[in-house]
Amino acid sequence: MHLLEITGLTKSFGGLQALGGVDFHIDELEIVSVIGPNGAGKTTFFNTISGLVVPDEGRIVFEDEDIAGLEPSEITKRGIARTFQNVRLFPDMTILENVMVAQHCRTETGVWGALFNTPTFRNEERAIEERAKDILGFFGTRLTGYRFRQPAYVLSYANRRRLEIARAMGTMPRLLLLDEPTAGMNPKETAELTGLIRKLRDEKGFTIVVIEHEMRVVRDVSDRVVVLDHGVKIAEGSYDEVSSNPDVIEAYLGRPAEEGA
């Protein structure tokens, strides 16, 4: 039984087929990389899983339930969280609040509790804050201390990416979808994040799908690599198998050179 099993996932935008019947699966505690040239449909793949885009056809079965077409918040509630390729934080909220708000679907006090400041409400608020601080602590000291109360937009690019991961962790998912988490980072930061992705699995127990362009990261983190091109899966296997696959090489070399390919 796979944690997530996708069959025949199809999505077209007008005449353009972004996904043409993709099959995919991932098991508990696996790290799978999704690679492919620009416009291959990788982000669309994530968008359909997280519910931001409704697929035309196909089944997305997560923990024995078909989640295709559910509201994104429903899908998040079931345990899938994501980051965005083009970093989309809540810029004017504080760093702490960014992670606190992500726990929305894991908490429940409503208007009543807030208005009358009930003990349940207070305990829950405290727990939310503690958990958020704990999660931010996972990234060392750069998102802690005085940073807690700073608006997210003051962060450097790399820190924004880290905060996005922290926010996804805040929803307490089983499955994490990371869309190009190292984009725009320097080699040192990239290396560090590579280690962090492994730690997310080894210490925090997340199952992870990661879209990456940086081949060194792909090599270092993946248990398995899936290659998309023109919305179709053209190869799948270990990093070594995939990187020597002639179809994959052609997909990359047939286009403007990709870094690291």
């Binding site: 997280s50 519910g51 931001l52 509201e71 994104p72 918040s73 998040t76 509630k77 969280a81 994501r82 965005f84 989309r88 934080l89 809540f90 810029p91 004017d92 909220m93 609040e97 606190m100 708000v101 992500a102 726990q103 929305h104 679907c105 894991r106 908490t107 006090t109 409503g110 208007v111 509790g113 807030a114 208005l115 400041n117 409400f121 829950e124 608020e125 939310i128 201390g145 005085y146 109360r149 700073q150 608006p151 003051v154 926010r167 996804a168 805040g170 929803t171």
Partner: protein, 599 residues
Amino acid sequence: MNQMPTRRSATDLDWDRVRRWGIYAGLTMAFLSSIGMVESLDKRLIVDPILSLGFLALLWVPVAFGYAATYEEAKEGMAAPEKGERDLIGGLAAGLIGGLFFVAFIAIADAVDLRGVFPRIGPALIDLLTFGRGTAVGGLLWLMISGLLGMFGGLLHVLPVRVRRAVTNALTAVFLVALVEIAVVDIFESLRLTVISDWIYAKNGGVTIAGAIVVGALAALSSVRSEGDAVVRFRTRYATMEGDERKRFNLIAGAVGLVLAVVLPMVLGGLTNELLANVGLFLLMALGLNLVVGYAGLLDLGYVAFFAVGAYTTAILTSPLSPKWTPMLTLDFFSIEGWVVMVVVVAVAALSGLVVGTPVIRLRGDYLAIVTLGFGEIVRILFLSDWLAPAFGGAQGIRNIPAAVAGPAEINGTKPQTIFYLVVIFVGIAVYVAWRLYHSRIGRAWAALREDEDVAEAMGVETTKMKLLAFITGAILASFGGMIFAVKVGSVFPSSFKLIVSIIVLVIVIVGGMGSIPGVVVGSLVLIGILGGPTQPGLLAEFGEFKLLIYGALLVFMMLRRPEGLWPSVQRQRELHQEEILQDAWLKAEAAADSAGER
């Protein structure tokens, strides 16, 4: 090579800018005169007998525009632009140009009969503008006045900060004291201190010259003693307060507010109480709308609909003249009947929030604004329609809404004090609700929704549910406003619920500061208290016919110069000062923790 910094000569000015602002000044003065503002406002004296509000409406123009004409932005990384005689000359020139245009306007108005197009330009206006001395003398005087005032505007750049602050504070203080005349006379009368108010205020209204000098001198003195802009300092400090300190401050502020709210109405007369009751009524609505627009980011232009629903529900439940249903309940806050009324009002408001909210909630931004605007009008037209007249009375509305009751006290519009107390209680409830919700899981969800709806949804926030919740909470707060309004006026008509009410409430929120409770309070005080509501007069009752013009001008000015509002929310404030303040606060906390650890 050693280069001497080139000193700029006295006439090295951006003459284009000077000319432009001079022309603007002249045109503005001509415009203000031609719409009849000078003439209408001339009746209200600011400083007796030398300055009326009408002339003030003209005289600020050369000062402000002279200031603007010589304003030089300090560019990042460049030396601050040096100040000097240049600014005086620029201001003078702008003032003279403005004066010239204005004099030309007077001359033309004198020579040609423009009354066909501008009904307000007549002999009376000319007489007023030329001080009754003929066009030649009057024109010369205006040239002089405008030039000097323009120069004064330029001078403001040159003066050392302290002096400038003293001068502006003195002028503002005199103006404010003249502004609140009605209220102050009221208070002093009931305190039997008419000696003082008689001395400050002249018989015909306005501050006496001696009073003006004393008030101005006091204001100048106090500003010289204090460091920096007190308001800004206070706001910054408030923004950096943490946890307990902030809680304590809020408590103290709340207690002071409460005492004021209890004591003020007793010492104030009917007129001032009426004014404050209006301020409170609009504040109540603004607090509700702030929740919808400022917190959740949903631009609702039909907010008045919920105000109307609250008013009509109250009318139907209590009035014996309600055409269809006449339960004739009494809005008695100390009996079960009154609570039934309130529960029904809340339920109907919540239901209408749900009904209006459900279809529109999936729309975004502009679309939401337009559709809610439509809904607001539909509600009013439904109340007005013949079709529903058997239930709501059509254009006649519903009359004879009885007074509300609280124990021995009757609450109705003829006793504005009682209305004021009622308003204060509900404003208190609204502030509490807004504040509690904001600092909860729901408030955070709203903030996320406002910042990026898609991402909020992807992060597990049920956006539809949260939006509806904001809509409904806002609707309930507005319906309380409607309930009080019905009791206050004693009757409800569709014409009380026009689009302009929604717009003015929105302007309060924007001018005060979106998402900021103190901002909304300041916004209501300034706009409704001073200018007045759509039909309610403010302290400057003379503004009546120009109210909307001033609202518009103020909105444009705020959007250009201060989009975050008069009292920005902590979030916006943080945006402005970010790093330094927070880092300071953190270091301070660290130091405190260290010293606590050592002990």
